[in-house]
Symmetry: C2
């Protein structure tokens, strides 16, 4: 998505450790008009997939997942980090290793929000090693729902998560894929979906 | 807001300890069409206030805050719970006691996302004792920005947070105020803003 690539070039900051900060428009601070544009493109890609629900992980995935679900007119569900709120024991659970926090945590979704007849679209702001996405996929599998695929705003293509999932047959659509950001220079992969 | 009161009566669950669960439409699972309706009403109430930014707290406030900011065509910023991500030291910080978790935690917002010429609308899904809202107000004060007021989806009117803030002169608009939920029976306050 050209507009997203342009926005990343204009506002993104490359930090040491392959960290890309896009806090000025994608998380922390969300440019709502721009996010609506991203969501329209995401909804276009999955418009014929029969999506009944969008699933993401708190906290940075919520805004983009909400915006996409809003375009598809379906509910948005987010997995919580374990112990974070009023959650009963009746949950699906998966373990996720956080590269940012250097620790493993559990994510949970109440069983009543995922049904076997649901068709799930996973949405997240970032995809790097794919740990969060794999955790969400594990939760969808437990629920018996169908997985339509994943929609990612920004994928770090130089890390393995997205391509490994594609090799496993999971549909992963990323609106911008960064193949390299060595020396602070961002190089995008050419995308078929645009 | 009649539609919100009806939705609470239809889908809300009153648990022991004055807990109201609305996870089926307001958080955990978000009914995106309904949330857009809530956001339009919120934006209507503040349409003449010159809002330049919406501020909330992760995670359950993000969806409603995004939806309201989207209607106002302004950015949405969310305060993070301290230590939760790639945050530099250049932050505004406040302490918040969580009734749900029975502990105090710090919330932070990067200084670059709040400017002295901003006019801030605080948005959250719930208001009870007002701890989160007071933390956000403390952050706005540090930034030198103007506080236009707060927009809350559901206020627990039988707890003191909202009315104390109103007595202090803070504009607090709640789309539904619950004055009592004894024995599981929800009683709403009559609102002037509808």
């Amino acid at each position: 998505m050209k507009a997203l690539e342009d926005k990343i070039l204009a506002e993104g900051e490359v930090l040491t450790g392959n960290v890309l900060k896009v806090g000025s428009f994608l998380n922390q601070q969300v440019d709502t008009d721009f996010m609506t544009l991203i969501a329209k493109e995401g909804a276009r890609l999955y418009k014929d997939a029969g999506i009944t629900k969008v699933l993401t992980l708190e906290a940075s995935g919520i805004a983009v997942a909400f915006a996409v679900a809003q375009q598809l007119h379906v509910p948005m569900v987010y997995a919580k980090k374990y112990g974070s709120s009023n959650i009963t024991n009746d949950v699906y659970k998966a373990s996720v290793y956080s590269y940012t926090h250097k620790q493993t945590f559990d994510i949970v979704v109440s069983k009543k929000y995922l049904q076997p007849d649901d068709v799930i679209l996973l949405v997240d702001d970032f995809l790097a090693l794919g740990n969060a996405l794999n955790g969400l996929i594990h939760i969808v599998e437990q629920s018996g729902a169908n997985l339509a695929g994943a929609l990612i705003a920004i994928e770090k293509g130089f890390q393995s998560g997205g391509d490994l999932l594609r090799e496993e047959g999971v549909r992963v659509e990323s609106l911008a894929i960064i193949d390299s950001m060595e020396d602070g220079k961002i190089v995008f992969r050419e995308l078929e979906n645009t």
